[in-house]
Symmetry: C2
Subunit: 297 residues, 2 copies
């Protein structure tokens, strides 16, 4: 069956999936937060939802979404989970940034775009529980569609077993679709999540992919759904393993400095952040990934 050029049905399915991921992640995280205070005197934190909107320079509507943020928790110091769907017309700068190597003649002829995705960053209270980032998205232009996303682990104290287990879960997920994916996407993450000016990785990696279009939308969408499910399978065991460990002031200091590095990466290099800030999306939603507290000594 020939694909509808506007891909209305595919866009709807993708958008619904991303909202679905947002809801199930928020539910699991809230449950964990509640479990973490069970038996104690503290009240667990919960997610606050806020609608976000995107405006073009001329004030016209470009879509929006829902930002879910849980703050000041016992387990989660700050976690934001955004789902949004935006559309409009690409300007030259965004076009070049997004194209990054691909031919952009087709996009330039009809620069409309549509993008939907879910992204999350979790900054944990206990410095021994790793921070994590996850994100998947579908991008559409009249001449080309693609998926992108990934997840990477950002511990301020690196534990070999955490790194190994996180990567093993991602490998299992990737292998289900294509035996070459894990190696390729893992290396891509190593290149992408690199803080060039400090010549170091921002964390212990994970997977990253962009421009994913095998020609078969259904297969690629299936993979993106698998990555969404794999994220929780890869991350939750690490939280459960570390959340009750005692930590010292020196650990907290390491954590705050590591969060500074994280902020540097997101503000200086991250493509999604740049695209979000340039496309007029709500800056609080785009920058929800920034740490609750960070230190540059």
């Amino acid at each position: 069956m020939k694909q509808d050029e506007e891909m209305h049905d595919e866009k709807r399915q993708a958008r619904e999936w991303f909202v679905n991921v947002q809801e199930s992640v928020c539910q699991r995280f809230e449950q964990l937060e509640t479990d973490s205070v069970a038996g104690g005197a503290d009240t667990p934190a919960s997610f606050a939802l806020r609608e976000t909107s995107t405006r073009a320079a001329d004030g016209s509507d470009r879509g929006g979404g829902v930002m879910a943020v849980m703050r000041d928790g016992n387990l989660f110091e700050k976690v934001g989970v955004n789902a949004s769907t935006v559309y409009g017309v690409l300007d030259e700068d965004s076009l070049h940034r997004l194209a990054a190597g691909k031919s952009i003649d087709g996009i330039r002829n009809d620069p409309r775009f549509w993008a939907s995705g879910v992204s999350l960053v979790a900054h944990m209270r206990n410095p021994r529980v790793p921070s994590v980032h996850f994100n998947t998205r579908m991008f559409w232009t009249p001449s080309r569609w693609w998926f992108g996303g990934g997840t990477d682990l950002n511990p301020c104290i690196e534990y070999d077993d955490d790194t190994r287990d996180f990567h093993a879960a991602l490998r299992t997920c990737c292998d289900r679709t294509d035996g070459a994916y894990y190696q390729r996407f893992r290396e891509w993450a190593d290149r992408y999540f690199f803080v060039t000016h400090r010549q170091r990785a921002r964390g212990v990696g994970g997977i990253f992919f962009d421009d994913l279009n095998t020609g078969d939308w259904r297969t690629d969408f299936q993979f993106v759904q698998d990555v969404g499910r794999a994220f929780l399978k890869a991350y939750l065991p690490l939280v459960l393993r570390r959340m009750d460990e005692e930590w010292m002031d020196a650990d907290r200091e390491k954590q705050l400095i590591h969060r500074g590095l994280y902020a540097e990466f997101n503000l200086v290099y991250d493509r999604g952040t740049k695209f979000g800030l340039e496309s007029g999306h709500d800056p609080d939603a785009v920058l929800m990934s920034l740490p609750p507290l960070a230190r540059w000594p």
Copy 2:
């Protein structure tokens, strides 16, 4: 007298002046820090000096300087004063960024550059004492030289009298050289120190200038020296006015969030930061401006 094309003597004078400014600012700030603990039990903080170096991608020497940082003081929570002199060959990206509107044909034919400057950022402990930024520099290429710099005030709580007095001191300084400078450089600061993605200024402004070349190096250098002297005259009275004021937790919260905005500006927009990170200068020196602690709620 025809100017030596390499401008050896002018470069030496400029470099010596910038080092001079660094030394006198450090001395005054240390004195203030000492005064602030007089009669109390605390030991005053003092400046630690560190040599910084710059390396090209191939590892070759591109100069360096001295980074002076005072940390964890009673008055100064973190203040960094960098003086550095760097040189080398501009790559295409840096060339375009620096040229910003000017013709770059001359620079492209012989892309050697030399740059020397002093820059400082002070993050104060008391949220009622404004943060401040100051910087002056000389840039040289075989086909063109210019000066740049400025100073701007970044209070997290804005007091009209502080803003007024700071600007009045800068106006007096500018008027001495050219009656049109203050208005022009004040507006330039308003445009430059603007956080586009939040559609707000990062502070209450000051002056900013770049590409300053009237054709008379001596006049322009004199102005740059005046700006260096004016900085202390404009800023120190505000510190003295506010340093003994009591502050509340709510003030500290405002301060930490305002510092987040400051970090956003420096990492996303600041030209000097971008140039420093791209030119292989010591990242700790380039990012010394980042706040000791910042919050994104």
